[in-house]
Every structure is written in structure tokens, then in C-alpha cells.
Amino acid sequence: MATETEPDQTESFKPYTLAKTLTPHKRAISAVKFSSDGRLLASSSADKTLRISVVKSSSDSPAPTVSLLQELEGHEQGVSDLAFSSDSKYLVSASDDKTLRLWDIETGSLIKTLSGHTNYAFCVNFNPQSNMIVSGSFDETVRIWDVKSAKCLKVLPAHSDPVTAVDFNRDGSLIVSSSYDGLCRIWDAATGHCMKTLIDDENPPVSYVKFSPNAKFLLVGTLDNTLRLWNYATGKFLKTYTGHVNSKYCLSSTFSVTNGKYIVSGSEDSCLYLWELQSRKIVQKLEGHTDTVISVSCHPTENMIASGALGNDKTVRIWTQEKD
């Protein structure tokens, strides 16, 4: 709504506007993600299903066309997270039924069930080579799985509280994990050894962590309404982003690099926040949802953001920037 255009910016920031609202699920949304080729958008929900839609941006209207491709059912309890493989052929989902499930997108069929966690599976990601899957769980461990055989390759004794997020770096050699115990740990993906722990004076529970596109920095969200950008090699944080509300849920946040560099995050006040990366100023606050915006995802090539909200709202919204 309120657009703040800084006078000293070289280009004025074009505000995002709501382009489409979808109601694919019957209960709260838990995650939304674009595939790495930008063609597909997937969402997972507490209603135990996942939905994959094809997103095509049209040249005549600013709103993209969204058509349902697959509806994936099979989990026995709500789904918390999902991830696409790099070739966009497979999707993995993590659920409260303690399993991860690997789906074939083209046929919509379940390929494999990865069992091993002893409590809710909370977060999941593929590595860039897509031959390994990393998952974090409420059982305080991080597990690395082999995609081809669905074997669990390693169990990392990662934290002393539920693991809230896991991510691979760009070449798949490092894994970062975050937890309610206030720590972010970096692991060597090949050997499973802990490489580093990021710790600060206060340790608020960490709700989300993600590598930057060049894998030199970490975007860390903590339950004290703060997002920080850390340089993990030096162990110091470089930027702090505030203004949003985040003290209860594990909201995801991401980098927007298609048109200038921004940090995008959801918030518990039902809005999406966009900060400029360098100046840390809020450049836009997107309103429209009626409940906590739990997940955001940026399209890899276009200026499109997808967001999903919790139970009072249940919608997935797509926001685009005006085209020239």
C-alpha cells in the first residue's frame, strides 16, 4: 500500500501489486515455492495435501495465468514444507506424520517415502545436484538422504531443540541448519561434520535460515522480530532488518534479486515486507492477507512474489511489479 520511494535511490522502486489470489487448500498453508525454472508453483498445507500449478506470465495482462497441474495426496498428517529438485521433475515434502515423501511431478504419483525421523519432519531441501535431500525435524536431528535409493545416508546430531530450517549452499558442499535452541550450525555435506556454529550474545530461537545466492552469507530469521544477514566465515552479522512481526511462527524469508536487491519476508501482522538489501529500509508493505503470512517465494527470473497465509486466510497470493 504505502510506497516509500527514497529520493537518493538511482531508480525508483516499483511497487508490487496483487495479481492473483488462489484458494487451493482447505486449511492453513505452510509453504509456497517456485520451481528453479520458474514454471511451477507448489504449495503445501495442513490439510495433508500439496498442489502444483503451472504459472505463465502473459504479455497482455500483468496477472499471470495459473492452472492446476497436480494435487498430491498421501501424507497422513499436515505437511510443513516442500522443495523442488533442480530439474523440476521431483518434489519432496515433509510432514507431521514423520515422513518425507518424494513425488514425481509429471505423473503426480508418490515415488518414495523416506522414513526415519522420530518426530515431525519440519523442513526439507534438495541439494543443487539433486542427488541428496536434507531434512530437519522436531526430533532435533538433521538427516541426509540419498534420492536414488531413499536411504538415510547420515543422521546429524544437530541441535537440542526442534530444527526449524535446513538449506544447501550453491555447490552442495555445505548444509546450514537452524533451531529453536538459538543456534545456526554449518555442516560439511560430504562427511556430516560440524564446521561452524553461529552464536550471538542473546540467543532467540531461530525460525529460518537460508544461504544467499552466492552462498557467502546467511539470512537468519529469529523470533524476536528480526532478520539478520550473517557472514558465516567471520561469524558476524552484517545487516539487521526489522519492522515486521515474528515471534511465534517459523516464517520464511528470501532474497529478491530480479530487479534490484531486496529481502522479502512474511509477517504475523498479515503483511509482506520488502526491505532494500543495503540500506535496510522498508520499501514496501504488501497488505491483503487476513492471517500470518507464513511463506514467501520469489520467482527466479520474473518480478513475481508468491505468498501463503495461515488458517484464517488459506490463500496463496501472487504479487507482481508493474511492467513498463
Binding site: 542427488n131 555447490d171 558442499s173 561434520h193 556454529t197
Partner: protein, 547 residues
């Protein structure tokens, strides 16, 4: 980009067997350029490509026409092609991604070693060293062979007439010769039976330089380090020698011409020796003066800092590691099976060795937990230290606990997009598409197993056992690719056991014995399965300790 926090892996060497890979009887191995894939040639003519990160089989290259044992495997520079030489005198070129055979050439003799030209991503030339004749350049597209000279003629200016399949210099048959390309493939270095290293331009089949090895013993292996700066020879006098390559890496051919021009006044052998002395200098030699063992499959580590050689005595699986200065740093001892091939991982301190029984052993560093990684304010002490408290340590409100101002300048520019070049691969040409991994296609679950085993993985083992007839259909191979059930689960149990505990000598011997038992498919599978149920339970117990 991960270099700052991962310990510098260069300068380290493996210490214990971490794991072993099993699939038929493997005979020879080769890593791709980045060490993400390991190709292994088997005794039944198949070539298996392992995904080294997950330690699972990524692809199998099966040739219906070839049933003879594979003698050597070689990757092309960017990993798109594999050249396989087999005991039925054939050379087969495969396309890795599609798994299709490109060409097959039959030679006069079985090639013991075949190396693809390292200069291009789709090479059509290769260097083949047959069992008992001179090495030759084979053009894989036309099938023509060009024999290289293995000795310097006494008269003339070193030009040897090209002749097909004949010993151009009358060397007696059954003399093994070793040969290799230099780093960019413009020159071939041949080690002959007189103990001489010849530098040959294979395009003109002309010997340009000659370096006599002290002692004049037959040279059995000759290999370059990855950066092309050092040359290793293995001679019959049980000595490994390192030579430093004085020629420039990229334009070796031209530098040779320049050197020849400076020695215009000399002729024949004298000239070759003079030029040779400017190309290679002896750097170091290694031998085991106590046991005087013959060496097998010597090679450099990825960064050229270490030299590894396998002991060629039967019944022993010993690997010697020296640093380049000549000091013996480690002797790795494996189970009592002879060693037939050896390779050092291009990047990590990992050595892979093939034993006579066809198993591939992976040697890695013995891991000691780095406690300071878990909590940054942990400092590991070597010995007890006297603790001196701070001046204000026992103050009610110590200085340091007052509001600490962040000394970070948050207005600094942060770059989240530019990538850093990976220094381990100096001539990574970004324009070339390198094959680092094969797409992992997950094998589908069998439907009746999906509703079982939702909780712990030990239950999964039970349900897989009920599905065991499926795995036995997979054939004599211990690891079946299409059946994700018990064989792979066994290896998970087995390999997890190894990762958690350092296997003692006893355990290694027991494993070796188990493997040596008759290779009947069902018998072996059930034996391994029974072992692994206990192991898996152990592994589960171990993992519970962490929680």
C-alpha cells in the same frame, strides 16, 4: 566459497578404511575430474559409475558384445566420455549421460592401459599401451592406429618411419612400455624397457627428447601429477622416481622446438639427451629399502603434495604415502588381499584402492570431533592451562556485560550475488559444460511396502526382508540398482557401522573372510543381510545416543 571455514584439505592424507563398495568384481577405477563420480571396470565387461557423494551406483555401462574383463577406465577431461579397454582387445568409448556406446575398436593386442586425449571435451584420440608391444595412438573414429617409437635409433636425426603394427625398431616382443599424455596432450611421455623416458610428438611420431633414468631398469608406470608439473615413474628396480617438468604447461611443443634450436650443433642421441635434460630433472626417488617391494599403481595426490604407491606383493594390501620431500608419512594396511589398483581423490584426502577380490576400499581421515565448531567460545587446549581471571570477573556488574554496542557498520555494502572462483580447479573453463553428477532418478517404492514402516528404520528393514525375493532376482551383484530394498539397506547398515566406529584389524579381517566365501548369489545376500540387521540395530542405538 566454503574455503574459509572448511579445514584446508590439501596437505592431509587418509588413515583408515571408511567404507567399501561392492558390485561384482571390480578391477580398475578412475575418478572424474572433480571426484564426484568414480568409474569402475568389472571382470564381466561392465563399467559401473558410482556417485561418490552418496556412495551409490549412478549408472551402469553394459555392453552385450564385451564379456571380457576390463583392464582400464579413463574419463575425458570434462567427464562426458569414458574409454574402457578390455581383455578381448577392444577399446570402447561411451557417452556417460546417455549410457550409449559411441565406438568400439578392436586392436591387435589387449591394451593394458588406455588414456583419452586430455585436451578436449570430446576426444577422438587415445593412447593405448598394449600388453607386449609399443604404445600406440588410436583414432577412435577411424580405428587407425599409429605406433609410437619406443627407442631411439643410433643413427639419423630421430625420425622413425611410421609403420602399422610392427615394431619399428625391432624391440623384442613382451617388453612392457608405459606411456602417458602430458597435461594438455600435446606431447606423449613414454617409458621404455631400457629405462629411458622419451618425449614424443605423436602427430609427427618424432622423438624430441630423451631422459635416461638412473639404473636403466624397465619402466612399468609413468604418470603426471594433476597440475602437470611432476612426473612419476615406477621402475623394475623397485624405485619410484619423481621428475620435475621444466617445460611450460600450455605450449610444451613449441618450447621443445626452441630447445632443439638451441642445440642445433648436436646430433642424434646426444641432441636428444641434451634437450631431455632441459625438460625433466630428477627430483626425488622412493624405495622401501627394508622390504624392497615392487610398487603398483603409483600416483600423486590431487594437489601433487603426496605420492602414494601400492605394494605389489600378493596377500598384502599395503599403501605407502610419501610427501614430496621424500619422507614416508604413512603405511596404510588393509585386509589380506592383494591390491590391484589405486587412485587418490582429486580434491579430498581420500584414497580408493581395489583389492583382488573385487572390492573397492575407501580410505579417509580418521575424524576427531572438532568441539570448537559446536560452540565458538570453546577453545581446545592441548594441556592444562592456568586460568587467569579478568579484573572485573567477580564484579556485581562487570564492565563487559553492560550494553555492548555493535561494532558492525551496518551501512557497508554487501554483495550477495557474485560468485568466487574455485581455486582447486585452476583451469576451469566456465564455457565448457562439465559433467559433475548424473541425474539421480529415484527408483519407485514397491506399492505394498508403502503402508508399512512409517516409524523407525529398523521396521523398514523387516518389511524389506519380506520383499527379499525381489532383490535376489537382481542377479549376482550385491547392490542392485532397481530394487531399493535389502541389498542397499545392508550396505547402509554396513557403511553406517563403519562410519561410526573405527574398524579394528579384527573386524576388517572378518569382513575380508566373509567376502571370500563362495560367491553364490543367494548365499552371500542372506549372509550379508543377517549381519546388517544387527548392525542396523547398533546403528540405531548409536544414533539415539545423540538425541
Amino acid at each position: 566459497m566454503n574455503a574459509p571455514i572448511i579445514d584446508p584439505l590439501q596437505g592431509d592424507f587418509p588413515e583408515v578404511i571408511e567404507e567399501y563398495l561392492e558390485h561384482g568384481v571390480m578391477k580398475c577405477i578412475a575418478f572424474n575430474r572433480r571426484g564426484t563420480l568414480l568409474a569402475a571396470g568389472c571382470s564381466d565387461g561392465n563399467c559401473v559409475i558410482w556417485d561418490f557423494e552418496t556412495r551409490g551406483i549412478a549408472k551402469e555401462l553394459r555392453d552385450k558384445e564385451c564379456n571380457a574383463a576390463i583392464t582400464s577406465v579413463c574419463w575425458s577431461k570434462y567427464g562426458h566420455r569414458i574409454l574402457v579397454s578390455a581383455a578381448d582387445k577392444s577399446l570402447t568409448l561411451w557417452d556417460v549421460v546417455s549410457g550409449e556406446r559411441i565406438t568400439r575398436t578392436i586392436l591387435q593386442q589387449t591394451p593394458l592401459q588406455a588414456r583419452l586425449h586430455p585436451g578436449s571435451s570430446t576426444p577422438s584420440l587415445c593412447l593405448a599401451c598394449p600388453l607386449s608391444s609399443a604404445p600406440m595412438i588410436v583414432d577412435l573414429t577411424t580405428g587407425s592406429t599409429t605406433v609410437l617409437p619406443v627407442s631411439v635409433p643410433d643413427a639419423g636425426n630421430g625420425l622413425v618411419p611410421a609403420s602399422r603394427n610392427k615394431f619399428s625398431d625391432g624391440t623384442p616382443p613382451f617388453t612392457p612400455t608405459a606411456a602417458c599424455f602430458n597435461k594438455y596432450g600435446d606431447l606423449v611421455y613414454v617409458g621404455n624397457s631400457k629405462g629411458e623416458i622419451l618425449i614424443i610428438d605423436y602427430k609427427t611420431i618424432q622423438v624430441h627428447a630423451m631422459v635416461p633414468v638412473t639404473g636403466g631398469a624397465v619402466i612399468k608406470n609413468i604418470v603426471f601429477s594433476r597440475n602437470g608439473q611432476y612426473l612419476l615413474t615406477n621402475s623394475n628396480d623397485r624405485t619410484l622416481r619423481i621428475y620435475e617438468n621444466l617445460l611450460p604447461l600450455k605450449d610444451g611443443r613449441r618450447a621443445l622446438d626452441d630447445l632443439e634450436a638451441t642445440h642445433k650443433e648436436l646430433n642424434g642421441v646426444e641432441k636428444l639427451k641434451a634437450v631431455g635434460s632441459k625438460c625433466l630433472t630428477l627430483f626425488r626417488d622412493f624405495q622401501d629399502s627394508v622390504t624392497k617391494v615392487h610398487w603398483k599403481a603409483p600416483c600423486f595426490s590431487g594437489d601433487g603434495e603426496w605420492v602414494v604407491g601400492g605394494c605389489a606383493s600378493k596377500g598384502e594390501h599395503k599403501i605407502y604415502i610419501w610427501d614430496r620431500a621424500g619422507h614416508l608419512v604413512k603405511i596404510l594396511e588393509g585386509p589380506k588381499e592383494a591390491l590391484i589398483d589405486l587412485a587418490w581423490h582429486p580434491v579430498h584426502p581420500i584414497v580408493v584402492s581395489v583389492s583382488l577380490t573385487g572390492l573397492v576400499y575407501i580410505w579417509a581421515k580418521d575424524y576427531t570431533e572438532n568441539w570448537s565448531a559446536f560452540a565458538p567460545d570453546f577453545k581446545e587446549l592441548e594441556e592444562n592451562e592456568e586460568y587467569v581471571e579478568r579484573e572485573d570477573e567477580f564484579d556485581l556488574v562487570p564492565e563487559t556485560e553492560k550494553v555492548k554496542e555493535s561494532d558492525v557498520n551496518e551501512d557497508d555494502e554487501v554483495d550477495i550475488v557474485t560468485l568466487e572462483k574455485d581455486s582447486a580447479f585452476s583451469d576451469s573453463d566456465m564455457s565448457q559444460d562439465e559433467l559433475c553428477f548424473l541425474p539421480a532418478i529415484p527408483s519407485p517404492d514397491v506399492p505394498e511396502q508403502q503402508d508399512k514402516g512409517v516409524e523407525s528404520s529398523s521396521k523398514l528393514v523387516d518389511s524389506n526382508h519380506s520383499g527379499s525375493p525381489l532383490s535376489e532376482e537382481a542377479g549376482p551383484n550385491g547392490r542392485a540398482t532397481n530394487h531399493a530394498s535389502s541389498p542397499l539397506e545392508d550396505d547402509a547398515g554396513g557403511s553406517r557401522m563403519k562410519r561410526k566406529r573405527k574398524p579394528s584389524e579384527k573386524i576388517l579381517e572378518l569382513q575380508a573372510e566373509k567376502v571370500k566365501k563362495p560367491l553364490k548369489p543367494s548365499g552371500r545376500l542372506s549372509k550379508v543381510k543377517n549381519k546388517s540387521v544387527a548392525d542396523l540395530d547398533n546403528a540405531e542405538d548409536n544414533s539415539n545416543l545423540y538425541i
